[in-house]
């Protein structure tokens, strides 16, 4: 439904979006994940037909977004970041207006508007001026607008931004309910959101795709395996860190002192390996007592931090190699 090939957007000679290619099939919910300034919003603005790409090709439901923009936009429901709305209009009036310009027929218009006000929970404020409503309502009016013409593709830029936990849950519920019939592309910088809603994740950083896959396999595929927490005390606790680092599967360790002589170690472990037995022996060999040993699979957060941190180091190492 969404096909993007070699999409590039340069702005004053700087590539904001740099050679991005991906696809999203019918009924799929795909998440764009990345820090602020990664190029998520720019990509979505190009996909929605608002901005022109510098290079590359975007197809929305089989229509080129540049060549057949009007046909492509017919299949599209787009909710921009910060949800711009007309403050002087009333909620129902606004949605009727939006449904009208999006080509919803006269007969179906009232039905579609009411259905989506109900679905997004804005029915109780339908006669209120938009300018007087809270961020939570505005966000859901934006969602109702994106849905009002029953588009096959939805592009939602930070759909849960500024909502309280209850509203976040209900918006995620709505988005999940769209799976199967609608293709949804949403952006977020909240990792929990992607894990809760998306079937597939595309991680963007500095305009490039860093990784893509479903949330759990992404963790497996990336080299950053599990994280291990270990707490011990005893005679050789001072040298325990060195001993633990010698265990083959351990790739890194951080340690800090706790109360009553206990010491906490955080170990990075290579993917697919479980060194807990060897670690226990190492603790014994150093004549220490163990009170805690646990292994946690890497969260998206850590994968993400790893990916972006590696990139951040690049500019620093560059001059060194030159010298």
């Amino acid at each position: 439904m969404i096909q993007v090939q070699g999409l590039t957007k340069t702005y004053r000679g700087r590539a904001v979006v740099d050679d991005i290619s991906f696809e999203a099939g019918r009924g799929e919910i795909v998440g764009f994940l990345g820090p602020n300034g990664a190029g998520k919003s720019t990509t979505m603005r190009i996909l929605s037909g608002f901005l022109l790409p510098t290079a590359g090709k975007v197809e929305i439901a089989g229509h080129d977004i540049v060549e057949e923009s009007l046909q492509a936009r017919r299949h599209l429901g787009y909710m921009p970041e910060d949800v711009p709305l007309y403050p002087e209009m009333r909620v129902e009036e606004y949605l009727r207006y939006r449904a009208g310009i999006k080509g919803v027929s006269r007969e179906r218009l009232a039905g579609r508007v009411h259905e989506n006000m109900e679905r997004c929970g804005v029915s109780e404020v339908r006669r209120k001026l938009i300018g007087t409503l809270s961020k939570g309502y505005r966000q859901r009016i934006g969602l109702a607008d994106a849905l009002v013409h029953d588009p096959s593709i939805l592009i939602l830029d930070e759909p849960t931004n500024g909502l309280d936990p209850n509203q976040i849950r209900s918006v995620r519920e709505i988005i999940r309910s769209l799976a199967g019939r609608h293709t949804v592309l949403l952006s977020t910088h909240i990792l929990a959101e992607v894990e809760a809603v998306c079937e597939r994740v595309i991680i963007l950083d500095r305009g490039r795709i860093k990784a893509t896959g479903d949330p759990s396999s992404l963790a497996r595929r990336l080299e950053r395996g599990a994280r291990l927490i270990l707490e011990a005390r005893g005679a050789g606790v001072a040298t325990l860190g060195t001993a633990l680092r010698k265990v083959p599967a351990v790739t890194g360790a951080r340690e800090n002192d706790l109360a009553d002589g206990w010491r906490r170690f955080e170990l990075d472990v290579r993917g697919g390996e479980d060194p807990r037995e060897s670690l226990f022996r190492a603790v014994q060999a150093e004549q220490c007592t163990l009170r805690h040993l646990s292994m946690e699979p890497a969260t998206l957060e850590e994968i993400f931090a790893g990916l972006t941190a590696a990139e951040n180091r690049e500019p620093e190492t560059q001059p060194a190699t030159d010298a």
Binding site: Y11, V16, T42, R45, S48, G49, F50, L51, L52, L70, Q71, R73, R74, L76, Y78, P80, D82, P84, L85, Y86, P87, E88, Y97, R98, G100, I101, K102, G103, D145
Partner: protein, 253 residues
Amino acid sequence: MEPARRFLILLQRELASFFFSPMAYFILAMVMGLNGVAFRFATALMDGRVQPHSLVSLTFNSFWFRMIFFLLFPLLTMRLFAEERKMGTFETLMTAPVRVSEVVLSKYLACLVFYGALWVPVLGNFMLFRMLTGSQAAFADGALVSSALLLLLLGAFNIALGCLASALSRNQIVAAVAGGTLVLLHFFLGFLAGFAKVSPEVLERVQYFSSLDHINFFAQGLIDSRPVVYYLSATLFLLFLTHQAIGHRRGGL
């Protein structure tokens, strides 16, 4: 059928946004106030004196009437595109399945309709004057018709000029100042050319574009086809430029 309905919905929304904003009533009050002054001065000039000019001619050639022009167009047009850009609603508007031409035309036409509505009470002044005084001699009906036609043409042109200024900026003040300057320069073109030491041939050509001369002419009840063609074609060209400006800016951020 569908494009026609879409255009009507856009036009309706643009008109509503005019009449629902306090700005519209401020502009209406300003135009009526300044016109009242222009009208009162014109009647004062005629009072007890023999005048070679009619009431219509004196009103529309007065200083006060010109003041309306410079204030009106920037105020009327500055928000058209600049406001939507600033609020971000331009993004939701342009990502709906609407054409750039439909958006430009609906905004332009709504503005022109509102502009037309502004002059209804002004033209009413003359009718009221005739009813109250029973005087047929103050002005001829034809002069009122030709003046109304010229007001419409001037409006069509200057609103298109303001449209372009608003399309080029996201800041309403910048749009207003740019639009106002263009309106002012164009309006006084014939007047300014008189100061510059240009040859009589050039001066004659410049005067084809002079709104001051057009007003003087039309207010006497004369209809000249040259300004009609000029204003209509210039309006179309300015709207085309606005269309291109909106389309072109999609390439930037």
